[in-house]
Symmetry: C2
Subunit: 213 residues, 2 copies
DNA sequence: GCCTCATCTAGACGATGTCTAGATGATAGT
DNA sequence: ACTATCATCTAGACATCGTCTAGATGAGGC
């Protein structure tokens, strides 16, 4: 897939080629069977070549995660742009984009939200993750400004993000198979995901009083 | 930690000893650095011993996940029992138990919801997972019976489970650090998690109409 | 045209998961 | 009590992995 420019000693654009190979390996083999050496093989370079560009495996995965966050940001923005002016509808659309991205990029989605343990990951990952978060945050700000200007944004943001992220996670980990129709994961456009999102967006526009806690 | 009974050739209860060792390794080293050989080392047996009891690494992790689900079920039931008779309060308490379990058993929680790819995992894992799901399902059934008897259970269940699971996941993956107070992950009893759960439980008792979709 | 240095290769090392053959001993049948 | 069976566990080998080191290559600045 990734073009290997003849057999020159210097690749020319090895970094990008490795990222592309990494994404392919991730999609085909999954996170468990992801391998640095396989990525190098696909890019047509030696097994130690990735180390020079990404340090180690964790650094490589961090850059792949950053690519994933950039894609997620784009996907969410596209859905939002096509959802009309109503803030609640835009938030709903963003949720759909988030879930659809997770389903279509399972392994990539998995590494995106995997905390390193070793610090905070690369600066690029932080930038990309922050940008994706910003889309959600801005959409929520518009919803609250239009429907509940007195509501503190953080709990609403936590609920929306958690619900969407949790649904996406449970979906790709096959935990919702028993709850889904026979269509399975594929027909997300009309099924459980939509109903869940509707219930959630409703919650954010309803009064915050609660019977008991 | 796990008692190694002298140096008898037959361990006597190697299966349980390996599970205990596995849980310890998981807690200390995390999922990434989890190793079959290290578990065998801690149990005082040869590196190939686990294979006879669990088949391969995936089988071992599946049994560990089953242990985790049993613990989660217990934790949720305990919280529910101490939350009084109101269904909504019980659901809220179950959510607290779910999140607290994830925080206190990060690595174990991570493998519990990791889909194998190779089939459905062990029968024991399916049993334990089903039992944990049953706690949530029953609590939701009581909430709907008391507050919204006409509401279809699946969307509400999906929202509640997704929100709780998503919040727990984002929390242990350090994605909510920017949203949390200076107390960080530890003070869950009064902070963002509680506010999010309140908003969620409220949504499940409110009318299901929604302005726009 | 030369020199510097980023880029990439080749090989080695320790560690891991899994396979195989064989050692051990608990247990059941007689 | 004796023995055979078979689950249990050991020891070693093998392919593969991530990472380290030394060295080869050649693009670009002077």
């Amino acid at each position: 897939m990734t073009s290997k420019p003849a057999d020159r000693y210097h690749h020319g654009d090895l970094r990008e080629a490795l990222l592309a190979a990494g994404e392919a390996v991730l999609a085909e083999r999954g996170v468990e069977d992801f391998t640095l050496r396989e990525c190098a093989r696909r890019a047509g370079v030696s097994h130690a070549a990735p180390a020079h560009h990404f340090g180690d495996a964790a650094g490589f995965l961090a850059e792949l995660a950053a690519v994933g966050f950039d894609r997620l940001t784009t996907a969410m923005e596209e859905r939002r742009a096509g959802a009309g002016p109503e803030p609640l509808a835009q938030l709903h659309a963003i949720g759909r984009g988030y879930i659809a991205f997770a389903v279509r990029n399972r392994a990539l989605f998995q590494i995106m939200f995997r905390h390193d343990g070793t610090g905070v990951g690369s600066a690029n990952l932080q930038r990309a993750g922050g940008a994706a978060f910003g889309v959600l945050q801005a959409a929520m700000a518009r919803v609250l400004a239009a429907h509940r200007p007195a509501q503190a944004p953080l709990p609403s943001l936590a609920l929306a993000w958690s619900a969407v992220h949790g649904f996406a996670t449970l979906l790709i980990e096959r935990q919702l198979d028993a709850c889904l129709g026979q269509g399975g994961i594929q027909d997300l456009e009309t099924d459980l995901g939509g109903a869940m999102l509707t219930l959630m967006t409703h919650a954010l526009a309803a009064p915050p009083t609660i019977p008991a806690g």
